[in-house]
Amino acid sequence: MLSIEHVSKVYRTRHGLRTVLNDVSFQLEPGRHLGIVGRNGAGKSTLIRLIAGAERPTSGVIRRSMSVSWPLAFGGAFQTHLTGLDNLKFVCRVYGVDYRPLVPFVEEFTELGEYFREPVMHYSHGMLTRLAFALSMAIEFDCFLIDEAMVVGDVRFHERCHIELFQKRQDRAFILVTHEADVIKLYCKNASVLHDGSLIPFPTVDEAYDFYLATLATRPPDR
């Protein structure tokens, strides 16, 4: 169970305090899939960072009684002097997993060839993306956090990601955050809309998407 209770997040900006999330609450049971839509700047990534535990909420509590991933395919923590293999070892050490049995999967999935043992600074953008995704899949979690960023790369990679995540791991819980409703419709039964700092739940994805489209027609939030 993942439980978000009255979570708010306020950032200090040069123009004073800015409330990005305002009293957000929801629960996610094991194996359930939740889609969250919201326009750019609505606070989607902030919510993901809070659930991941990278940042702390200004107020409210996040309880995790199942293991929760880091934001999927997040590549920002790559150290450019480390090789792909080093990065796999690092992630495995942090999560207390033996890296050796995972090497074949990561090598096969990333198709990096000998670059797997080269420093990450020599990687192309596509190679980085594949490595980031493979590392996310290497550690098994009960709940995956999926930011829209993963919907990049070529068609073949895209398909392989979907097989790994949505087919092989469809028994896991996940939170899928995006502004593309189509992806959510494919995999989620319910969806919520993040609007003006509040999270508004809807029983069906269609209703959520209708509301989301309506919010797009209005003025963007003051920032």
Binding site: A52, A54, A77, L82, K89, R93
Partner: protein
């Protein structure tokens, strides 16, 4: 789950994360080419050797009883102990923020990793240089190893508490890192590395002993050179200073953990 079990688990996670960070930091900083991890010792050794050479050439005023190389090795190694950890922690958060996406990695872990690496590098360099110079006769053998060790541990404690404070400070304001470097630069000549307290007029002695690291260096040198040198220190004062600074550092770390945004 009892509190004891969860504490045990937290401790295991903590060790796991520190080990992962440590291995990562070593490769990141020193790479695999040429000496690799040996640079952890080589870098402080080169600094110390350079300073020893410069002081010899400059004919720095020193107590006639102590060879200048011995004076430089004990002095500059002490500087490495209190200065380098803080300097490495000043930039740590900025360089490693993205690691916080892994929930078990906290800002404190990143700082502790860097402090541990600096201390082990400076300590190994001190041991290697001290041993070599003692063997070839450029340094007398240490008179009282327990005192040397005590001085060293005190310097390590001061360096750690200072580094935690400076490191946490950077999450409140970038100014902390900017200000730290000039402060470190100005503290160096006052730190007791290049003088013995006994050489100073009495009123200045009291003043300079307010700087905690001066007490540590004096104790270290008393241990190494014995009664050949007259030393002045107050380890009770230094310990109180370190204790308070440790508490301040840990409190700031706790506050920082709540406000670091990635």
């Amino acid at each position: 789950m009892t509190a004891n079990v969860s504490l045990h688990r937290s401790f295991a996670i903590q060790l796991r994360v520190l080990r992962a960070l440590m291995l990562r930091e070593i490769i990141t900083r020193f790479g695999r080419e040429n000496l690799g991890v040996l640079w952890l010792i080589g870098e402080p050794m080169l600094f110390t050797l350079g300073v020893a050479g410069l002081w010899t050439l400059a004919g720095l005023r020193h107590s006639s009883a102590i060879p200048i190389v011995a004076f430089a090795v004990t002095g500059y190694s002490s500087v490495l102990m209190w200065r380098n950890s803080a300097s490495r922690c000043g930039a740590a958060l900025l360089q490693n923020k993205a690691l916080l996406f892994h929930r078990n990695v906290r800002a404190l872990d990143i700082f502790l990793t860097r402090i541990a690496l600096e201390i082990s590098g400076a300590t190994s360099s001190f041991i290697v240089l001290g041993t070599i110079f003692t063997f070839i006769g450029w340094m007398p053998p240490p008179e009282d190893l327990v005192k040397v060790l005590a001085g060293w541990v005190m310097l390590a404690w001061f360096g750690t508490s200072l580094a935690l404070t400076v490191g946490a400070g950077t999450s409140f304001s970038a100014v902390v890192e900017r200000v730290w470097h000039p402060i470190a630069y100005l503290l160096f000549p006052l730190s007791g590395a290049a003088f013995m307290v006994d050489w100073l007029p009495t009123n200045l002695q009291k003043l300079v002993l307010l700087l905690p690291m001066v007490n540590g260096v004096e104790l270290l040198r008393e241990g190494w050179f014995g009664t050949v040198v007259r030393t002045h220190y107050d380890i009770g004062y230094m310990a109180s200073f370190c204790l308070i600074l440790s508490l301040v550092g840990l409190y700031l770390q706790w506050k920082a953990d709540r406000r670091v945004d990635v």
